[in-house]
């Protein structure tokens, strides 16, 4: 039974890899290999970045005979990233999967269902912790040599994620406990996630200086770790080759995991199927307001977007970055001005091109808001509704694009105006930055829509599948990144010859033309494609 459940779990996790969602056919071997290569490239790229952090700590600490402290610190980072990476999937995957009732109706033990889902969390944890722990181990081997002790950090590649699984499942369990008691679950999830993200980014931005101060004050950090972070001290010793500490670490993690399994299997039914419910809202009749068809369709998209914490957090977080960038530019105005005034000495030939950097920042952040990219797939099995109504495909698709553009336009414009004012750009330049950002925004909206029209996935059991685990999202993100770099490069190239204003004008016209071409496809072909999606 467990084998069947695991097969189903992995099939759901990897369906984009092996199956074409549009045709339902298995992918060609070349397609699967291509996808795997892309994934490996991404993993190695990020792991290489973490190798840089490991490099900062490894040699100085190993030379001081504090290899354990190196592993304890890298372990902390791995646990943090592991929990951060997996926690978003955990709650939805463990308790909110749509096939819970279907599986419970089958001759399967609830413990087997939760175990199969926990294994999914474990695999995700291996990926997220591995992205730090593997480069950390490699760096240690390079610095300390290849003795028999290296077997311990290698084994921990699989043991540490077990601990991360415990933490993420515990966090998911807590979220499920809270969610079963509050009426507005969506708001609670969003607030909790934002708090978590805020902590994450504070840690991220302070990491470099923190690591440097650790190296400078290694002795005091080591004594603090021994007294206040004893489990991490033991983990560090275990990774550095102490067999007793390894045995202790393994035992503690296994015991914690066993306890978690017990708690989860006991509470799974209650949390998955409702249990204690918050008091249901009672309808009080009041006059209803009418809207035009287009406004109604836009409202529908807005409600879908704000009604799903997964959708909102994964495809709308860029707005917070835009606001943060504007606030940071004002607070750190002097530092920003110092950099932009001397930009020519940082990037050759970039004198006077500071507004271009502002544009690139806005493009990068608005590009994170890929609202249209999962919007067709999110229609799900309810797509019959819109098909049966007297609305044209064009109206439906336009509403999706409109939400994307409007949601990005306001904070994007505010950020552009504030940042341009800080770098001392004139009104015409500000206007051109705003227009160019708007054109870019429209292009990303159109690209997201086209990709999802071409590869819709209506048969999901969890919203996370189209929003987080879709190749469409990944491709749109890549295109957004490449396009931003292209704009930056073209702006630098043209700016040297034509000056910043003309350069921005040319880029705006080109990006605008690209949008018109994409829009032409959507109107001519995309609408017909949408009508056939069912």
């Amino acid at each position: 039974m467990m084998k069947v459940l695991l097969k189903k779990q992995f099939l759901e996790m990897n369906q984009a890899l092996f199956r074409n969602r549009k045709t339902g056919q298995m992918r060609s071997r070349a397609g699967t290999v291509g996808f795997l290569i892309l994934f490996a490239f991404l993993f190695i790229s990020i792991a290489t970045a973490f190798y840089g952090y490991a490099d900062l700590l490894c040699v100085p600490l190993v030379e001081q005979g504090k290899g354990w402290l190196y592993f304890a610190l890298m372990g902390l980072m791995a646990i943090f990233i592991g929990v951060f990476g997996s926690v978003f999937n955990t709650y939805a995957g463990l308790y909110k999967a749509k096939d819970t009732e279907l599986l419970l109706a089958m001759p399967l033990r609830p413990s087997a269902i939760i175990a199969s889902r926990m294994l999914g969390v474990y695999v995700m944890s291996i990926l997220f912790t591995g992205i730090i722990w593997i480069p950390a181990t490699v760096r240690y081997i390079v610095a300390a040599g290849r003795g028999t002790g290296i077997v311990f950090p290698i084994l921990l590649i699989f043991i540490l994620p077990l601990f991360v699984t415990v933490l993420t499942c515990l966090l998911g369990w807590l979220v499920a406990q809270v969610a079963s008691r509050v009426r507005n679950k969506n708001t609670a999830t969003i607030v909790a996630t934002l708090v978590f993200l805020a902590v994450y980014y504070v840690v991220y931005f302070k990491l470099n200086s923190f690591l440097q101060s650790v190296v400078q004050n290694a002795d005091s950090v080591a004594s603090v770790m021994k007294s206040w972070g004893y489990p991490m001290y033991r983990l560090g010793l275990a990774a550095a080759g102490d067999p007793v500490s390894f045995a202790m670490t393994l035992a503690v993690i296994v015991i914690l995991f066993a306890l978690l399994c017990l708690v989860m299997s006991r509470s799974f039914l209650k949390l998955s199927l409702g249990g204690k419910q918050a008091k249901a809202a009672v309808y009080r009749e009041k006059p209803l307001r009418a809207s035009s068809t287009n406004a109604t369709l836009l409202k529908r998209e807005w409600r879908r977007f704000t009604g799903s914490s997964i959708y909102l957090l994964n495809c709308g977080l860029g707005v917070l970055f835009l606001i943060a960038a504007a606030v940071a530019a004002v607070i750190k105005a002097d530092a920003v001005r110092m950099v932009t005034d001397n930009i020519g000495s940082i990037i050759p030939g970039a004198d006077g091109l500071a507004p271009l950097v502002v544009l690139a920042v806005i493009c990068m952040f608005t590009g994170l808001n890929m609202i249209t990219a999962p919007s067709i797939s999110l229609e799900g099995k309810g797509i019959w509704l819109i098909h049966s109504m007297p609305v044209s495909a064009r109206q439906v698709l336009t509403a999706k694009e409109k939400l994307h553009v409007l949601f990005n336009m306001i904070p994007g414009t505010v950020c552009a105006v504030v940042c341009c004012a800080v770098v001392g750009a004139d009104v015409l330049t500000v206007l051109l930055v705003v227009l160019c950002a708007l054109a870019f925004n429209c292009v990303i909206a159109a690209i997201g829509l086209i990709f999802d029209l071409k590869r819709p996935n209506l048969n999901w059991t969890n919203e996370a599948t189209p929003v987080k685990q879709s190749l469409t999202i990944f491709l749109v993100m890549m295109i957004e990144f490449i396009l931003t770099c292209a704009i930056l490069f073209a702006g630098w190239l043209l700016g040297r010859i034509l000056g910043i204003r003309l350069a921005l004008l040319v880029i705006t016209v080109v990006v605008g033309a690209v949008f018109l071409l994409l829009q032409h496809w959507i109107v001519r072909r995309g609408t017909a494609v949408f009508e056939t999606i069912s």
Partner: protein, 234 residues
């Protein structure tokens, strides 16, 4: 009201609906019966303008669903066998959304929604998200949404599934009222007793082909609809 002429829908090499011709006049409740996979849902979805078809023509009040889909859809409502509604909306927001799409005047919709929700006894639940509704409640909500704009033609795929006996009785009354006002109902069902008591006309479909249609008396004669159906299916 509804003219289906030579409707053919092909999936790959399978003719899901094969040269189907049916005419439904105002005032008629038309039952559509057949085994699973016979082509009932495909026919209903084609009429609703959801599925494009390969051959034939579908006219609603003389207008082609292919040529004038918007005008046709304004005149009708469709309820599928499994009401997958917008779970991110509350019941009342969903009904207001449907009322907006069909441009039901603001001063009319509040009263009409209240009345229909009272009839199906889900008024108190309208403030709750659809995601928290049971199958029966979703079915009731889908029925209310279909009735909001007072369509002339109502298409329903297994409308009685999931409804409690009282709601089933109410629905039958409402179906009759639509026809009394000059509208028409075209619905599929596996409950032959309901079809026998409720329908003015009935059509039996087998493997995509219409094998018998007409008034209830013409189809079943002195026998029960069930025995005729089983005979034809063999």
């Amino acid at each position: 009201m509804l003219e289906i002429n030579g409707l053919t829908k092909v999936y790959g090499t399978t003719r899901a609906v094969d040269d189907l011709t049916l005419h439904i006049r105002p005032g008629e409740i038309y039952g559509f019966i057949g085994h699973n996979g016979a082509g009932k849902t495909t026919t209903l979805k084609s009429v609703a303008g959801i599925l494009p078809f390969d051959e034939g023509e579908i006219l609603i009040n003389g207008r082609s669903i292919r040529e004038q889909p918007m005008e046709c859809k304004r005149d009708m409502a469709y309820i599928p066998d499994n009401p997958d509604l917008y779970e991110f909306m509350t019941g009342i927001r969903f009904l207001n959304f449907v009322a907006d799409i069909y441009q039901v005047p603001a001063e009319v919709r509040t009263g009409r929604i209240g009345e229909l929700a009272d009839t199906f006894e889900i008024k108190e639940n309208l403030a709750q998200p659809i995601g928290s509704y049971s199958h029966g409640m979703k079915q009731k909500l889908a029925l209310i949404s279909a009735w909001i704009h007072e369509p002339k033609l109502i298409l329903m795929d297994e409308p009685f599934v999931g409804l409690d006996p009282k709601a089933s009785h109410t629905l039958k009354q409402m179906m009759r009222e639509v026809c009394d006002r000059g509208g028409a109902i075209f619905f599929s069902t596996h409950v032959l007793e309901v079809a026998e008591k409720l329908c003015d006309k009935v059509a039996i479909i087998k493997s995509g082909k219409l094998i018998r249609s007409g008034t209830m008396e013409e189809v079943k004669g002195d026998e029960s609809l069930e025995s005729v159906f089983l005979e034809l299916e063999e």
